[in-house]
């Protein structure tokens, strides 16, 4: 597992401080745009994630899901409450690959930032390309890749950051339905090969249920957890599995969608 070994000192997979990988407790975040009324993004939001767990967060648009990920990634401090997490790497909805770098160099961005030579960084990324269905695309520019391929490269870039925690912000929302399904299966396999603690934010209930061990349902703004569903089904999961279909309906009704 070359990737896990690369986690820097002090970023061990299990935080020595406690058993939780993410502890967001009773958090409130309020945006105060100049000249406009303040907007409460989160209020009394709590999220606990154990190491190795894959947790989905679903909720309506504007419920503060992305704010939650910013807290988890340490990009923002809560106005109230406590937010602690292991070092996390963010994967945004848009791939945000750098157009002037090859796919390989994009994936190897994090190692190359950490004082490693260009070639050494590439050598870290190269084996992942063949293992994750990207063989032959190493030298392609992002513009030459399909949407699904670009998300794969973006995911590898997140993985190669060597952080124990991955914060995925609607990673497949921009893809067409068919590619999205393909990518969900791909991500399941990828996490089987390179297990990580994952917080996956999505508005797609099915995606959360297929991919995650546990699903947190958030209510509308100001966002907070309104329901929690454990997904016990073993992997690989079938979309038509009766348990999953039931969970999907439960999550949807918790979201207030007609079942």
């Amino acid at each position: 597992m070359p990737i896990t070994a690369q986690a820097r000192a002090g970023e061990s997979r299990r935080s020595p401080a406690g058993p939780a990988a993410v502890e967001v407790i009773g958090v409130a975040v309020t945006y105060r745009p100049r000249g406009r009324d303040p907007v409460a993004a989160l209020r009394d939001m709590t999220l606990r994630v154990s190491p190795g767990e894959v947790v989905g967060v679903v909720g309506p648009s504007g419920c503060g899901k992305s704010t939650l990920l910013e807290l988890v990634c340490g990009l923002r401090r809560p106005d109230e409450g406590r937010s602690e997490a292991e070092p996390a790497a963010l994967m945004p909805q848009r791939d945000l690959l750098l157009p002037w770098l090859s796919a390989l160099d994009n994936a190897a961005l994090a190692p190359s930032l950490h004082g490693m030579g260009k070639e050494a960084a590439r050598e870290q990324a190269r084996p992942l390309f063949s293992r994750f269905g990207l063989a032959g695309f190493e030298d392609a520019r992002p513009a030459e890749l399909s949407g699904g391929m670009r998300q794969r490269v973006a995911f590898l870039r997140t993985l190669l950051a060597g952080k124990p925690l991955l914060a995925l912000d609607e990673p497949f929302a921009g893809l067409d339905a068919l590619t999205r399904r393909e990518m969900q299966d791909w991500l399941t396999e990828a996490l089987a090969i390179e297990p990580r603690t994952v917080v996956l934010v999505t508005h797609d209930v099915e995606e959360a249920v297929i991919l995650c061990d546990r699903v947190i349902v958030m209510g509308p703004r100001p966002g907070r957890a309104v329901a929690e569903l454990g997904v016990a089904a073993s992997r690989p999961r079938r979309r038509d599995d009766a348990t999953l279909v039931l969970l999907r309906e439960q999550a949807a009704s918790a979201l207030g969608l007609a079942g």
């Binding site: 990634c73 848009r94 750098l98 930032l113």
Partner: protein, 252 residues
Amino acid sequence: MIAAAVLLALLGGWELYSDLGGVDPLILPAPHEIAFSLWNDSGVLWANFTVTAREVLLGLLVAVAIGLTLAVLIHFSRFARRGLYPLLVGSQAVPIVIVAPLLVTWLGIGIVPKLLIVGLVCFFPVVVPTLDALRRVDPDLLKLLRTLGASRRQTFLRVEAPSALPALISGARISVATTVIGAVLAEQGSATEGTGGLGHLIVYANAQLDTAQAYAAVVILIALALVMFALLNLTQRRLAPWTRPAREELIA
């Protein structure tokens, strides 16, 4: 091709206008007279062309250097953004001809004050797009880089600077025509030893009532601007190949 046809039509009209005695040839020479001058005075024109071309090329580099420095400064410093940027906009209203004698007094004759004049005339179209591009880097991308452990310096060198490069080259392209005018202004506004460049030649030729030669110098200035523009297009393709080439290349 269409440009060539339009040009021919314009030249034809001009020739006709002149030949029919519509205008004093001392004010506007006919195209064929300009062509004769280009041929007959080619030695003088070439000597002055090399002087001006050097000023234009180096002056553009000075303009890019000034523009890039200011853009980076304003990007990084709130103080510069608040205090300097409005002044820069105001400075563009200052006719450089006014300050040319001052620069000559400070820096003496020779190429240095001329390059500075060209730089001052032309840096502004470089600053604005470069600064905009630096500030327009996707905030999500900046967040992502922070979680990947990039320092502020790395973020600038690896992401912001390459993002702004196409804008920098675009700015330089907009500057090109002004650069030529800037060089002419510099030559006309400052004393010179020896061959003074095409701008100098224009003043001299006009004083000698050799309007055809002055216009011949203008033709060469136009050609110079076009060549520089094409060179910058080439530069863009070499340095920033990820920017899609314009759907129809304007020149070259």
